[in-house]
């Protein structure tokens, strides 16, 4: 049975079903109870499951994660919410030095089946700290699984898998897509490591995740008009990456564009490109391209559309991989780089 849900409602449904199905599942975060979250993602859950299982917490991210760790020792599966991407950093130590390491440190004796939900990404016209994409920090951290979703179905199924997993999972929710609707079949089960090929093509591969998957699909449609076949891969898992699927695709297309909203430097796209180069170097017919946020802090949202990956920037990158005329064809770096040298 399928139903039409927004991505936000799909998350809500996954949380409700997890709470319903396992009484060791708990929700904890700021404003998630009475208010139902600033995006209403947890709407109705406290009323339905009680304030003991859907906990409005004090305003302290390190403590949200730190106390959830303590609860995990007692066998709870805590789903914590960090209200916005930009507010996860106070919890960084508890996430990278504790959550990520407790299984390792205890040689498998302590499980941290914690899920950390983080609405992330931009294009929502908001103010500072509300539009960031911090996933690369966590991708660099061994011991964490980092996943995201591009559709309501993926949100539902991936979040269920995250909560069921005995590994700690950061579940990044593309907040700019919260109100996107789609069909959801609650019986579809997904894992935490496999990428989806969401459009097939033989000329260029675009690997995307979360909010950029839709843009990539639009790029595939636009490119098709010019006779270019774009294969689009929804990575789903940001760490570990499903490099196999991307390599298999690149072996066919010979060309790769990786896109995400996060800055490029030492990021998920750096990793994916390097991994593909390591394993499919001889298949590559052009250097892989990145279409990402620039290496600046997230700008004022008045100009965020210049900062974020866009359809046109993706198409331009596709053109670059194909050696077609593109925005950099006549770019003379030497002449424009006065300031930096």
């Amino acid at each position: 049975m399928t139903e039409t849900l927004t991505l936000a409602k799909a998350v809500n449904a996954a949380l409700a079903d997890a709470l319903e199905g396992d009484d060791r599942v708990l929700l904890m975060g700021e404003d998630i109870g009475q208010l139902g979250g600033v995006f209403r993602v947890t709407d109705g859950l406290q009323a339905r499951f009680g304030a003991q299982r859907v906990i409005d917490s004090p305003l302290a991210e390190s403590a949200i994660i730190g106390t959830a760790i303590g609860m995990s020792y007692r066998g709870f599966r805590v789903v914590t919410e960090i209200q916005f991407d930009g507010f996860i950093y106070p919890a960084f130590d508890q996430i990278v030095a504790q959550v990520a390491k407790l299984r390792y440190r205890s040689r498998g004796r302590v499980s941290m089946p914690l899920t950390i939900r983080v609405p992330y990404g931009g294009a929502i016209g908001s103010v500072e700290h509300h539009s960031e994409s911090p996933e690369s920090y966590f991708a660099h951290t061994a011991g964490l699984r980092v996943v995201t979703a591009s559709t309501p179905q993926e949100a539902y199924s991936t979040l269920r898998a995250a909560i069921a997993s005995d590994d700690p999972v950061l579940f990044f929710e593309p907040k700019g897509k919260y109100y996107t609707k789609g069909e959801v079949d609650r019986s579809i089960v997904r894992d935490l490591e496999t990428a989806n090929v969401v459009a097939s093509g033989r000329d260029v591969t675009i690997a995307a995740y979360g909010p950029t998957v839709e843009t990539a699909l639009r790029a595939a449609i636009a490119a098709a008009d010019e006779g270019i076949e774009v294969e689009v891969i929804d990575l789903r898992s940001i760490s570990p990456l499903d490099v196999d699927t991307v390599v298999e695709s690149v072996q066919r297309t010979g060309r790769l564009v990786v896109t995400h909203e996060a800055p490029a430097e030492a990021s998920v796209s750096s990793e994916l490109i390097t991994s593909v180069v390591e394993r499919a170097f001889s298949s590559l017919e052009a250097p892989p391209e990145r279409v990402t946020g620039y290496d600046t802090p997230y700008p004022p949202s008045a100009v965020e559309h210049d900062y974020l990956p866009s359809l046109d920037r993706l198409l331009d990158a596709v053109d670059r991989t194909l050696g077609r005329r593109n925005s950099r064809t006549e770019l003379d770096y030497a002449s424009v780089m006065g300031a930096a040298r």
């Binding site: 305003l59 302290a60 103010v127 600046t296 949202s301 100009v303 331009d316 925005s327 950099r328 770019l331």
Partner: protein
């Protein structure tokens, strides 16, 4: 092994049972020995000035709120109801002191002289920062809850190292008291006896969460006492009490007496921000009860009791508030959006080659789009 704890001076944890107040709801001037000593100079004209300040702050706030509803600003965190807390505290400082506040400190920004045209740009999402911090001695507004408290303490430590008698004030909300940073700020302020004033505006909510979620129902002003920091719990809707408490704290800091914590007990009558729906978590009746404690009405009544003819005062307040509103509206409506290229500015003092490449690529990309659409 015995350590002697300083005798609990009532002035060191004042108002815990009942917040300090010197202006009653009906404008009666109440007497409080602690606060009165710092209000000797407040005559009708000084009180009228505070009235003017509050009216202007409120007008800025309501104008900005309306501008947001009309689509000219992207977001606004209203301070309606907190005018006395901010004006009283702000007026206890000198201009050479520094303020480190949150996103709701519009009153401080206005009174310290922030350029309204620049200020409006923050809430249009045209800029992250809205004034020159070194011009008005106020750090950019802070969205990360509590982070600024450490900056305030650090600034105060630095002022002390310089042998200056300048003071830092850091403002934050009730919710912020749960963050590690605010508590570390208390540790450091106490350890270094930093000349800092902690202003906690307890407006009863952190978004939807009533303050009891943070504190388990205890007064927030109790907290600093455990760090050895003197504390006052003040009626935050009483501008005179706030002024006096601020002065006590500032004078203590200037004189080398270290930090003070002020809990301003007040209320956020509006939504958390323009995107919030407070009906989901509180009753209209609760709001009404706080309307009756309005900080501006109270001063009007006090001035009347003092025999001041309010008509010219109100008229003057209206003129000045209107002027401010007009100025702010014009700023909001006509602000120049940033050029997209500004994305690449001010990341480093010394530009990096990496970023200059990205700038060049971006400009080439924009040019290519323009080309295509020709």
């Amino acid at each position: 092994m015995s350590i002697t704890v300083p005798a609990p001076d009532p002035a060191l944890a004042a108002g815990l049972d009942c917040p300090l107040r010197v202006l009653d709801l009906d404008g009666t001037r109440l007497h409080d020995p602690l606060l009165d000593a710092h209000l000797g100079d407040i005559d009708e004209s000084a009180l009228a000035d505070l009235y003017l300040d509050m009216v202007r702050v409120r007008r800025l706030d309501t104008e900005a709120f309306a501008l947001t509803r009309q689509g000219h600003l992207v977001l606004w965190p209203p301070l309606l109801g907190q005018e006395a807390a901010q004006v009283g505290a702000a007026r206890s400082l000198e201009q050479r002191d520094w303020v480190f506040g949150s996103y709701r400190e519009h009153g401080f920004a206005l009174l310290r002289g922030a350029d309204m045209a620049e200020f409006a740009r923050i809430w249009k999402a045209y800029a992250h920062g809205g004034w020159d911090p070194h011009e008005i001695n106020m750090a950019p507004s802070q969205i990360i809850i509590g982070a600024q408290s450490l900056h305030g303490v650090g600034y105060a430590m630095a002022a002390k190292m310089d042998g200056s008698d300048e003071v830092a004030l850091t403002a934050f909300g009730d919710g912020a008291t749960s963050e590690g940073d605010v508590n570390e700020a208390l540790v450091w302020a106490s350890a270094f006896q930093a000349p800092v004033v902690f202003l906690c505006q307890n407006n009863q909510y952190a978004i939807s969460e009533p303050v009891a979620v943070q504190s388990g129902g205890l007064p927030l002003a109790l907290r600093p006492t455990g760090f050895g920091i003197p504390s006052m719990r003040v009626d935050g809707n009483d501008v005179l009490a706030m002024l006096a408490a601020g002065r006590i704290a500032v004078e203590r800091a200037r004189a080398g007496g270290g930090p003070t914590f002020i809990e301003a007990v007040t209320y956020r009558r509006g939504p958390h921000t323009t995107t919030d729906d407070p009906k989901r978590y509180r009753d209209e009746a609760e709001v009404e009860a706080w309307v009756a404690k309005d900080p501006i009405d109270r001063v009007e009544r006090a001035l009347e009791r003092m025999g001041v003819d309010m008509d010219p005062v109100r008229a003057e307040a209206k003129v000045r508030a209107d002027r401010l509103a007009k100025e702010f509206r014009a700023a909001a409506e006509h602000a120049e959006p940033p050029a997209a290229e500004e994305i690449f500015d001010n990341v480093y003092a010394q530009p990096s080659r990496r970023l200059e490449r990205q700038r060049a690529e971006h400009l080439a990309f924009v040019a290519s789009l323009a080309e295509e659409s020709k």
